[in-house]
């Protein structure tokens, strides 16, 4: 086992290299830049046999990635925040075309004003597109998910593109030990690229001309069918990866101390580490707390939530984003899945990269617990964990 000290971004770049990507087309944006810089360096030093297209925008980055993938090459790109928004149209086109590609998204807040720190809004904004969307907690997981993304997206039961998201700066630029398996081991585990069709003079395929409404509808249905099948594929890959490389995460959701929990924190991303610490602290105080860390927000882990969370005393969802005028996005999906079967609270926190510490998680849970014990059933869809210096406004203002 060679552990290397790698930033989250470099870990992702190493994984893309081990997956033997053939075409990389990306445009720089903070905090993704070092992924692309590292890949460019690898290519120019001859460590990675691939072509890099230094596109002039993110919209072109995704279009070039799709073009390369449709031609038959394993293609990869990376972006963040505004770049991801700029290519949004092409995300829909790629998923609709059912061409597997892998993209790393370094989650970052959206302006104005300019803000380069972590927020999940950019990733959440892609929920509807038909992409499989995963969110890592640690650099090692970002590495592992990137490798797995090629395996999952290229599975004939799936054939959908996949996002691997990692928190901006917290993971992307922070060095951590990452186990990097040797190329031969990855070659033995990752099959050669598979896709449902290629567009070549031999295949004579035409992709995307007008279809009748009925057929269009069925194509949408087909994407959803693949999303359902993807859940099983994700679990299988988790097991196989564990056998090959010694690391398993639990599939769509990582359940930390949640097997016997009374109160479960549900969230995604690097701050789950702080939530886990809070759970440990709460356990010492006598509250049976646990963490359900959602690793895949698409496909949404409805089975896990329905089976494992319906009988707990309360679920408290932490969203690092909000759909303005409504609720946090993880909350909405959770509430839809639980539909009133347990006490539920949604908390908006950490927007714009504002730090959330284990004690912040713990005190939210304690407050939730006391409300549930007092009222029996509690439903609080939108609570705000505002920055400390403005925290009084949370009580004074309706939001």
């Amino acid at each position: 086992m060679t552990k290397r000290a790698l930033t989250g971004n470099h870990a992702v770049a190493e994984a893309a290299k081990l997956a033997r990507v053939k075409v990389v087309a990306a445009y720089p944006i903070t905090p993704q830049t070092t992924i692309v810089e590292k890949l460019a360096e690898m290519i120019e030093k001859g460590e990675l046999e691939a072509k890099m297209i230094r596109v002039e925008s993110e919209h072109s980055a995704m279009a070039a990635t799709l073009g390369a993938a449709a031609a038959g090459a394993r293609a990869f790109t990376a972006t963040a925040s505004h770049g991801l928004l700029y290519m949004h149209e092409v995300l829909w086109w790629t998923a609709g075309a059912r061409i597997p590609v892998v993209m790393a998204v370094v989650a970052r807040a959206i302006g104005p004003p300019w803000n380069i720190h972590v927020e999940h809004s950019d990733v959440m904004d892609q929920r509807d597109t038909g992409w499989i969307i995963s969110i890592a907690q640690e650099n090692q997981e970002a590495f592992d998910l990137t490798l797995q993304a090629f395996r999952i997206s290229e599975d004939p039961r799936v054939y959908l593109p996949m996002i691997v998201s990692l928190d901006g700066f917290i993971l992307s630029h922070t060095v951590a030990p990452v186990d990097v398996p040797p190329q031969e081991d990855v070659d033995a585990w990752l099959p050669p690229r598979r896709q449902p069709y290629t567009i070549t003079p031999e295949s004579n395929v035409v992709m995307g001309n007008i279809a009748n409404n009925e057929e269009y509808y069925m194509m949408r249905f087909s994407i959803q069918t693949a999303m359902q099948a993807a859940k099983k594929v994700i679990d299988e890959v988790d097991v196989e990866f564990g056998k090959a490389f010694g690391r398993r995460y639990g599939g769509l959701v990582e359940c930390y101390l949640c097997d016997d929990a009374d109160y479960v924190m549900l969230l995604a991303g690097s701050w789950a580490g702080d939530a886990k610490k809070a759970a440990e602290q709460l356990r010492e105080e006598g509250i049976r707390a646990g963490v359900a860390r959602v690793r895949f927000i698409r496909p949404w882990p409805e089975e896990f939530i329905r089976e494992r969370l319906v009988n707990v005393k309360g679920v408290i969802v932490f969203d690092r984003s909000i759909s303005f005028g409504s609720y946090g996005q993880l909350f909405t999906d959770t509430a839809a899945t639980l539909y009133g079967q347990t006490s539920l609270r949604g908390v908006i926190a950490g927007l714009g990269g504002v730090d959330v510490k284990p004690e912040d998680f713990a005190s939210e849970v304690r407050d939730f617990v006391s409300k549930v014990e007092e009222h029996g059933r509690v439903y609080e869809p939108r609570r705000w964990l505002l920055p400390k210096k403005y925290s009084k406004l949370a009580e004074e203002v309706v939001a």
Binding site: G67, A73, G208
Partner: protein, 304 residues
């Protein structure tokens, strides 16, 4: 290189039963692409007339494999395909077939980027001088004074001189061509296919519906555009500029057919014909192109 029509193999070049309007010059152009480049071609087609001409799935009304792509991305998607084919060791031609919108306006950024990177694609702009597919709205390539559904009293701006802009990018090959002179277009396509890098061909495609003329006159209108000097045919190859024979014949304005011969066939220019100021404006736009040509012929522009 002149070739005999009878030398072309007897096969299907187009695809009958497609959704194009009668007399459509884009379907004509696609047949010439097939005659020139044969069967090792993949097309990239952004939103435009040719997207719709393909008709309804599961059939397609264009005789090529095609990646249909979003409006702004034709050049970048093509760059991606070309890069992939190169890594796979495949010797295929990736050809963009994009309209004015997808080239000069919404698609320009991607084209300019691909040109700067000198990506190995053939980029054909099918210039019917408006956003025809969405209903004849004006584009950056609409000529001065032309009627469109967003310029009811005639466009007040000039046509973007796109071929010259591409020459300024310094790409290895830039050419203009027309469906009125298919052999010239076929020659230029074959020339482009033999060069590595970004090859740009600006194809004039007179649209009977948008320009308001009888569908049988497509070829005549296209030829008149050249004969009146309104659409000059030329090639620019690695810094060397060459007027094509049909335009070489009309370099001298006195040898051109009167511009009105071209304009009077088209309903969209009726107000121009009636207004001497507009006519002067349109003539000025055409003269400017010939001034660029004069500079380029003398070798006064930078050569890469």
């Amino acid at each position: 290189m002149p070739f005999r029509l009878t030398d072309l193999p007897r096969k299907r070049y187009g695809m009958p039963g497609n959704a194009a309007c009668p007399g459509c010059p884009e379907t004509m152009g696609l047949r010439y692409v097939k005659m020139a480049l044969g069967d090792k071609v993949v097309l990239v087609i952004p939103a435009g007339c040719s997207s719709v001409i393909q008709g309804v799935a599961p059939r397609s009304g264009i005789n090529f494999p095609i990646l249909n792509i979003v409006f702004a991305s034709a050049a970048s998607a093509a760059s991606g395909m070309a890069a992939a084919f190169e890594t796979m060791g495949k010797d295929y031609q990736v050809v963009v077939w994009a309209g004015d919108g997808g080239t000069a306006d919404i698609g320009f950024q991607a084209l300019s980027g691909a040109a700067e990177r000198n990506d190995n694609i053939i980029y054909i702009c099918v210039d019917n001088e408006a956003y025809m597919n969405t209903g004849i709205q004006r584009s950056g390539l609409t000529p001065f004074g032309a009627w469109t559904t967003t310029t009811w009293t005639g466009k007040t701006e000039k046509k973007k001189p796109l071929p010259f802009i591409m020459i300024a990018h310094g790409v290895p090959y830039v050419a203009t061509a027309t469906v009125g002179y298919p052999q010239d277009f076929i020659d230029k396509l074959r020339k482009a296919a033999s060069i590595k890098g970004l090859k740009y061909i600006h194809l004039h495609v007179p649209c009977p519906v948008g320009w308001r003329f009888d569908p049988g006159l497509t070829v005549k209108v296209a030829q008149l555009a050249v004969q009146t000097g309104a659409f000059p045919l030329f090639e620019y190859e690695n810094g060397k500029f060459r007027l094509s024979p049909y335009s070489g014949m009309v370099r001298d304005p006195k040898r051109r057919a009167p511009l009105t011969e071209y304009l009077k066939l088209q309903g969209r220019f009726q107000t121009v014909l009636k207004d001497p100021e507009k006519l002067k404006g349109l003539q000025r736009e055409i003269d400017e192109m010939w001034e660029w040509i004069a500079l380029l012929e003398k070798g006064l522009a930078p050569r890469p």
